[in-house]
Symmetry: C2
């Protein structure tokens, strides 16, 4: 009998379901999140998929011991409730209770997507071995996870790490959170696309106009336009990197971490983005900080959240236990 | 025989020397820092003053057990060296070694002024009982101390908490640190005075012109001009509070602390400043954060650093030990 952990990463567009042993995710399956008609359906799918994945694996004697779930949007970890998700019409869904009921009452642990990905990278990925590190995900939105003294830091009401919602430009564009000039409103995938749309409306980028054709504009198209030599699109990306550099430099000034781990879809363009980001950070940072913080790319190939879910499932607590002692 | 602790707060303009029992600072003495001709002189003064203060106190049987020192400017805590201080011509002064030598080798513990004041407030002042809190001092400069899980957080190279040097306005005024638009360059006492000087040059404030006479402009004069109804000076203060509100809101979004403790000379004007700061924070923060963070004024009457020095002296380590366990 092999101990198996169920791991789930519910994303805005895709949902990953997997099974894992102590140190390895052995089988995974992708679903379009939009194909999941209701949260109750997801529960049924998960139960079915765990069974199926175990039966298809080399661990047919596997027994599910616990499940870790990375969820988008605000949640109550203790009560195991997803308050709401931005892309899905789920509100106050008691995912832990529902899933436990169908899984013989084994432990189910949930965490939000940024924390799960940050934990995944810290324990299994690019953040291994760093005592103080910040994980920043740059994707549709911008989120973060703070790891201090080898532990995830959640703040007094589980609201810490809202790195996407620090003000970077006081009179900047409106953000979905209600504020103005948030990092997310200036440098997320959504912000990049909005800037691209402005270019199209103002007919300032022939290359982008050709690329889009009849399709919907994506951040990827803007990166492609940059690669094809489009100056207006390049200027957008320069601005975005400036804001990212400011945001990350602020984190370094505040936390003096050993490492910052950058994840999220936008960082797939790291060869273009990283030099620009690091250049801006250099302008902003104390000289004594320069060269002493490791800026690293997430290394778990889009599965940071799934690995984080494994850590949650294995530990039955929502903390990283790298350090045993408390005193600094 | 009573156990006595020596406590020292070396400031840019004044130096406080005191003695304390376990829970009380019993005698203090002020010196103008500029009257201390060299760091070696300070050592002699300290040794003399500790003796004198004990002999003048109700604890004439007192024996000095250890000394805590709050120092301005960068330092190496482990090696007990002050690298440099901005107002004094001290460089790489081994204060711990020198003082120990003259004090029969009793422990001497140093920390920087922002951390010492933050520790003082957390243990003895306005921050008592808060597990996660940020101390921010707004004075000539802007500094901070981060207390997480009841412990001072120092970062990986003792450089954490540089709250005055987060960028708030990307193209803002130059800061002494080399960056542009730092919170310190926008909202410190120095920044307020610079803005006032501009008003004087441009002859935009009659009230301020009268107040200054032949004297040197201070931030206090600008506050006095506001009290006398000067609109241009009021506008300066509104701007300053806007930037402070943005900086503090950023800290709340990142840390989700239970409390922010505000100290430093500028906060003596809290009745004018706090409503403006809190109003800006309200604009910036997530609704779920609003009303859940205690914004408190430092309560140790300008002696936060001295009380922090007492904690350092008593504990012989540079950490706060509020919590014994590590797991969240």
């Amino acid at each position: 009998m092999t101990t198996i952990y169920g791991v789930v990463d519910i994303g805005g567009t895709k949902t990953l379901i997997g099974i894992a042993t102590e140190n390895k995710i052995i089988e995974t399956r992708y679903l379009k999140t939009s194909d999941i008609s209701s949260p109750e359906t997801l529960i049924d799918i998960l139960v079915e998929e765990f069974d199926l994945l175990i039966s298809q694996s080399n661990y047919k004697d596997g027994v599910l011991k616990s499940v870790g779930v990375s969820v988008p949007g605000p949640l109550n970890r203790e009560e195991g409730i997803i308050h709401f998700t931005s892309n899905l019409d789920w509100s106050n869904f008691p995912i832990v209770e529902k899933l436990k009921k169908k899984l013989s009452n084994i432990p189910v642990i949930i965490d939000d997507d940024a924390n799960a990905a940050g934990i995944g990278e810290a324990v299994y990925g690019a953040g291994r071995g760093f005592r103080n590190q910040i994980y920043v995900t740059i994707s549709t939105g911008i989120g973060g996870a703070i790891i201090i003294n080898g532990q995830i830091y959640r703040g007094s009401r589980d609201l810490a790490g809202e790195i996407g919602h620090i003000t970077v430009v006081p009179d900047g564009p409106p953000c979905s959170c209600g504020n103005f000039g948030c990092l997310e409103a200036l440098a997320s995938g959504t912000a990049i696309t909005k800037k691209g749309q402005q270019l199209l409306i103002q007919e300032q980028s022939e290359i982008l106009s050709k690329l889009i054709g009849q399709k919907t504009l994506t951040a990827e198209m803007i990166f492609e336009a940059v690669r094809q030599g489009d100056k207006a699109c390049h200027s957008i990306i320069q601005q975005v990197c400036r804001y990212l550099g400011i945001g990350l430099a602020n984190l370094v000034q505040i936390f003096n971490p050993e490492a910052i781990i950058l994840g999220g879809g936008i960082m797939n363009q790291s060869s273009l983005l990283l030099p620009l980001i690091e250049n801006e950070m250099k302008i902003r940072l104390f000289k004594v900080q320069q060269g002493h913080v490791n800026i690293k790319l997430a290394s778990l190939n889009g599965q940071s959240g799934l690995w984080g879910a494994l850590h949650l499932a294995k530990n039955h607590i929502n903390a990283i236990e790298v350090e045993q002692t408390c005193r600094i």
